[in-house]
C-alpha cells in the first residue's frame, strides 16, 4: 500500500485479512496528516449533493456503517443546520426538502430561534439535519490499531518513488536510490490522492485524467453561541461552518473562496504542475473573504476569530466537475498487472473501494 491516509490505512488493514502479508509506505512521519486531515471533517449525510442522486443513495448505506465502525472518531453532538439561500441558489427550499424526502434523509424545519439567527432576506429556509464530523486524529488511532491487529507492516517516512514490473514478484516498489531500497509485491495499491499521477509518471505509466485544486479551509474560533452548531448554506457559491473536532475549533469553507487554483496533470500552458510545488508557494489567504460572505448570512460569524488555514491539494475526476457527484476510483493500471490506483473521496466511500478491491484480489488469488 502506497499512502497512509485514511483510505490507504483502512484498505491496508482490510487487505491484510485477505493477503499473506501487507506493507504500507507513507512519506510523512505519521498517518492521516494530509488530505485526510486537511478537509472539512464532514461525514457527509446525503444532503450535500441535491444534484446527484447516485452519490446520495450510495451514501445512505455507507454513512451508518462508518458511524458504527469509528464511534470514537465521530462528533455528533452539534446541531447541524442546512440553509437554502434565497438568491442565486441552484435549488429552492422546496426542491431541497423534496430531494431529502425522496432519498429518505432526515430533515425537519429548524427551530424558530435558529432561523432568527440568519438574515431572512438572504436565506429562504433553514432545516435541521442529521450529519456529523470526524476527528482525523482519533481516526488515525483507530486505523493504526486495526492495521496492527491485521499485521500490516507500517513504514513511516518512506516515499514510494516508482513502481515497475519485475523482481521476485509481479511488481517492485522503489523507495530509495540504493540498490536494495525496493520492495517486491504481487499487488501494489497506489492510494496517494493528489500525488497519484506523480507516482505513475515517475513509473513511466499512463496517467489517469485528474483535476487538481489548491484549496484553503479556514480554522476559526467560533463565538460561544456557535460552538455547538454546524451550518451549511446551499446550493451554489455558498459556504459552511462546522466543528473541526481534531483541533477543537470550527472550520470555515466556501465554494467560491476555498478553491484557489485549478490544474490538471497536463499542466498549465504546457508546463507540468505538481501539487508539491503548488503547496510550496501558497497564495494569499482568502479567509477574510469567506468570513465576510458567511457573516452576511449568519451575522454572528463576524465575531469568529481567524486562527489559521488548512491548505491542501484536492483531486477529483473530471467527470464529477459538472454534476457535483464524487465517483470513486479504484482501477487496475494498464501495463502493470497487479498495480491498482485508488482515488479517495468522501470518507465513508471507503467501503465502495473495499468492494471493488475484493473483486479484483479474490478473482486472481483464487485462480
Amino acid at each position: 500500500m502506497v499512502g497512509g491516509g485514511f483510505y490507504g490505512a483502512h484498505i491496508a488493514a482490510f487487505l491484510a485479512r485477505r493477503l499473506p502479508s501487507v506493507a504500507l509506505l507513507e512519506r510523512e512521519p505519521s498517518l492521516l496528516t494530509r488530505a485526510s486531515y486537511n478537509n472539512q471533517a464532514r461525514v457527509h449525510g446525503r444532503y450535500h449533493y441535491p444534484r446527484s442522486i447516485l452519490t446520495s443513495l450510495r451514501s445512505r448505506r455507507n454513512y451508518p456503517r462508518f458511524l458504527a465502525d469509528f464511534p470514537d472518531a465521530i462528533d455528533r453532538s452539534f446541531t447541524k443546520l442546512y440553509a437554502v439561500a434565497r438568491r442565486q441558489s441552484k435549488v429552492t427550499a422546496g426542491q431541497f426538502a423534496e430531494f431529502c424526502h425522496r432519498i429518505g434523509a432526515p430533515l425537519k424545519p429548524a427551530a424558530k430561534a435558529m432561523v432568527a439567527r440568519f438574515d431572512a432576506d438572504l436565506v429562504e429556509a433553514v432545516f435541521e439535519v442529521e450529519e456529523s464530523a470526524f476527528d482525523a486524529r482519533a481516526l488515525a488511532v483507530a486505523v493504526q490499531a486495526s492495521m496492527a491487529s491485521a499485521g500490516v507492516q507500517v513504514c513511516m517516512g518512506t516515499t514510494a518513488r516508482a513502481v515497475s514490473p519485475g523482481g521476485a514478484r509481479r511488481l517492485c516498489v522503489r523507495w530509495g536510490e540504493a540498490p536494495g531500497e525496493c520492495t517486491d509485491a504481487d499487488w501494489v495499491v497506489a492510494c496517494t490522492y493528489a500525488g497519484l499521477n506523480d507516482l505513475l509518471a515517475d513509473s513511466g505509466l499512463p496517467l489517469v485524467p485528474l483535476v487538481h485544486e489548491l484549496t484553503e479551509i479556514a480554522l476559526v474560533e467560533a463565538p460561544a453561541a456557535l460552538k455547538g452548531l454546524g451550518v451549511t448554506v446551499m446550493d451554489g457559491p455558498f459556504w459552511s461552518a462546522m466543528p473541526f473536532p481534531a483541533a477543537g475549533v470550527h472550520s470555515l469553507s466556501h465554494v467560491r473562496y476555498t478553491p484557489h487554483a485549478r490544474w490538471n496533470d497536463g499542466g498549465v500552458d504546457g508546463h507540468p504542475v505538481r501539487g508539491d510545488d503548488v503547496m510550496r508557494r501558497l497564495p494569499g489567504s482568502q479567509a477574510p473573504h469567506m468570513q465576510r460572505d458567511a457573516a452576511r448570512y449568519l451575522p454572528e460569524l463576524a465575531a469568529a476569530r481567524y486562527l489559521r488555514s488548512l491548505w491542501e491539494v484536492k483531486t477529483i475526476l473530471p467527470r464529477s466537475d459538472v454534476d457535483d457527484s464524487r465517483p470513486i476510483l479504484a482501477r487496475a493500471v494498464a501495463g502493470a498487472p497487479g498495480l491498482v490506483t485508488v482515488l479517495g473521496a468522501k470518507i465513508d466511500s471507503v467501503y465502495d473501494v473495499e468492494e471493488a478491491l475484493t473483486g479484483m484480489v479474490d478473482s486472481e488469488e483464487s485462480s
Binding site: 487554483a261 473573504h289 452576511r296
Partner: protein
C-alpha cells in the same frame, strides 16, 4: 490604509468590446495598491459579443476578479443589483466602466470611511448631455424632491460607495435594481456627494434589436410590461387637459356671446367636468395597476447564467505592504 478593510467593486458591462480588458487591468491595479482585500465583480449584462476566451484570459491574469453573467440583458440597474447581492466587502463601490475613473475609487471609499454610509458620485457638469436630457433630469430631481420628499443629489451617477450597513438595508428592499437610485437615499443613512468628472462614455452599447412579427411582439409586450397602460394613462391625462380647455372655451363663449342656446353651457360644462375627472381617475388607476405586477410579482429581477472567479496559478504573493491611497 486599514489592514483589514475589504472593498468590493461592482461593474456592470454590456458588449464592452475591446475596452473590457484595459478596464479590468486598471481597476485591479488601483485596488491592489489601495486595499489589502478586494474583489472586482464584473456583471455581464447578457453580452453577446464577449467570447468565453476573453473571460478566461481576464480571470487567469488578474486576481480577485469575479464574473457574474446574467442570462440576458436586464439593464444596468438590475446588473448592479445582481452584483450587490453577492458583494461581500465592508464597502461596496458601484461604477459604470468607461465613464467612472477607477483611480477615484480609493477617494470615494475614503469618504465612506469618514462616516458617510452612502457616498453618491455626482457629475460636475451635464454640459455633454443633450438639452432634453438636461431638462428631463431637472424635472426628475424637482419631482423627487418636491413630491417624493427625497433629497437626491442632482446629476448623481452610478459611481457610489455603500457601507455594509447601508447595503444590507438596501438588499432588504425587494427589486433593488429598478429603485436603486431612489433608495440609496430612502434608506436614510448618512450620505455624501462626491463630485467628479466622468472620463468618457460608458462601455454599454445600446444596439437596437430587429423588429419581430407584430403578434409575437404584442404578446411579449402584454406579458412583460405595463407600458401600454402607461400610454393609456398619458392619453387619460391628455383627455383631461382637453376637457379642461373645453370647459374654459365654453365659459368664454357663454360670457362673450349673446346667442348661446339655453342649456348648452350647463350641459357642456357638466360633461367637460365629468370627463375631466374620469380621465384623471383612469390615468391614476392605470399607473397603480401597472405597478402591481412589479410590486407583488415573485419573480426575481434578474437571472444569473453562471459565475466564475479568478484562478491565477502560482502567482507571486501579493505584497503585504501597500502604499497610502
Amino acid at each position: 490604509m486599514t489592514a483589514d478593510l475589504f472593498v468590493s467593486v461592482v461593474a456592470p458591462v454590456h458588449n464592452p468590446g475591446s475596452l473590457l480588458a484595459p478596464f479590468v487591468a486598471e481597476t485591479v491595479q488601483v485596488l491592489q495598491h489601495a486595499f489589502r482585500h478586494f474583489e472586482l465583480i464584473v456583471v455581464d449584462d447578457g453580452s453577446q459579443s464577449v467570447e468565453r476566451a476573453t473571460w478566461d484570459a481576464i480571470l487567469s491574469s488578474h486576481d480577485g476578479v469575479r464574473v457574474l453573467r446574467l442570462s440576458r440583458e436586464f439593464g444596468e440597474e438590475q446588473a448592479i443589483a445582481a452584483g450587490l447581492d453577492s458583494a461581500i466587502g465592508d464597502f461596496v463601490v458601484t461604477m459604470s466602466p468607461g465613464a467612472d475613473p477607477p483611480a477615484l475609487i480609493p477617494a470615494l471609499v475614503q469618504r465612506a470611511r469618514d462616516g458617510a454610509d452612502v457616498v453618491l458620485g455626482v457629475k460636475r457638469t451635464r454640459a455633454g448631455d443633450p438639452w432634453w436630457l438636461r431638462a428631463g433630469a431637472g424635472l426628475f430631481y424637482w419631482y423627487t424632491r418636491r413630491m417624493m420628499r427625497l433629497d437626491l443629489p442632482a446629476n448623481a451617477t452610478h459611481f457610489r460607495c455603500l457601507s455594509r450597513q447601508a447595503l444590507n438595508a438596501l438588499n432588504k428592499l425587494r427589486e433593488t435594481g429598478s429603485r436603486l437610485r431612489v433608495f440609496s437615499s430612502y434608506i436614510g443613512y448618512a450620505s455624501a456627494a462626491y463630485v467628479y468628472d466622468p472620463v468618457g462614455q460608458t462601455l454599454r452599447s445600446r444596439s437596437r434589436t430587429p423588429g419581430e412579427a407584430v403578434s409575437v411582439a404584442l404578446a411579449m409586450v402584454l406579458d412583460n410590461t405595463a407600458h401600454p397602460l402607461r400610454v393609456a394613462s398619458l392619453l387619460g391625462v391628455a383627455a383631461a387637459l382637453l376637457n379642461l380647455a373645453y370647459a374654459v372655451y365654453v365659459l368664454v363663449v357663454y360670457a362673450m356671446r349673446a346667442d348661446v342656446a339655453p342649456g348648452w353651457a350647463t350641459m357642456s360644462l357638466t360633461s367637460a367636468a365629468q370627463f375631466f375627472f374620469l380621465s384623471i381617475i383612469l390615468a391614476v388607476l392605470c399607473e397603480y395597476v401597472g405597478r402591481l405586477p412589479k410590486r407583488f410579482g415573485s419573480e426575481p429581477g434578474y437571472y444569473v447564467r453562471d459565475e466564475r472567479s479568478s484562478a491565477v496559478l502560482l502567482r507571486e504573493d501579493r505584497p503585504n505592504v501597500v502604499s497610502e491611497p
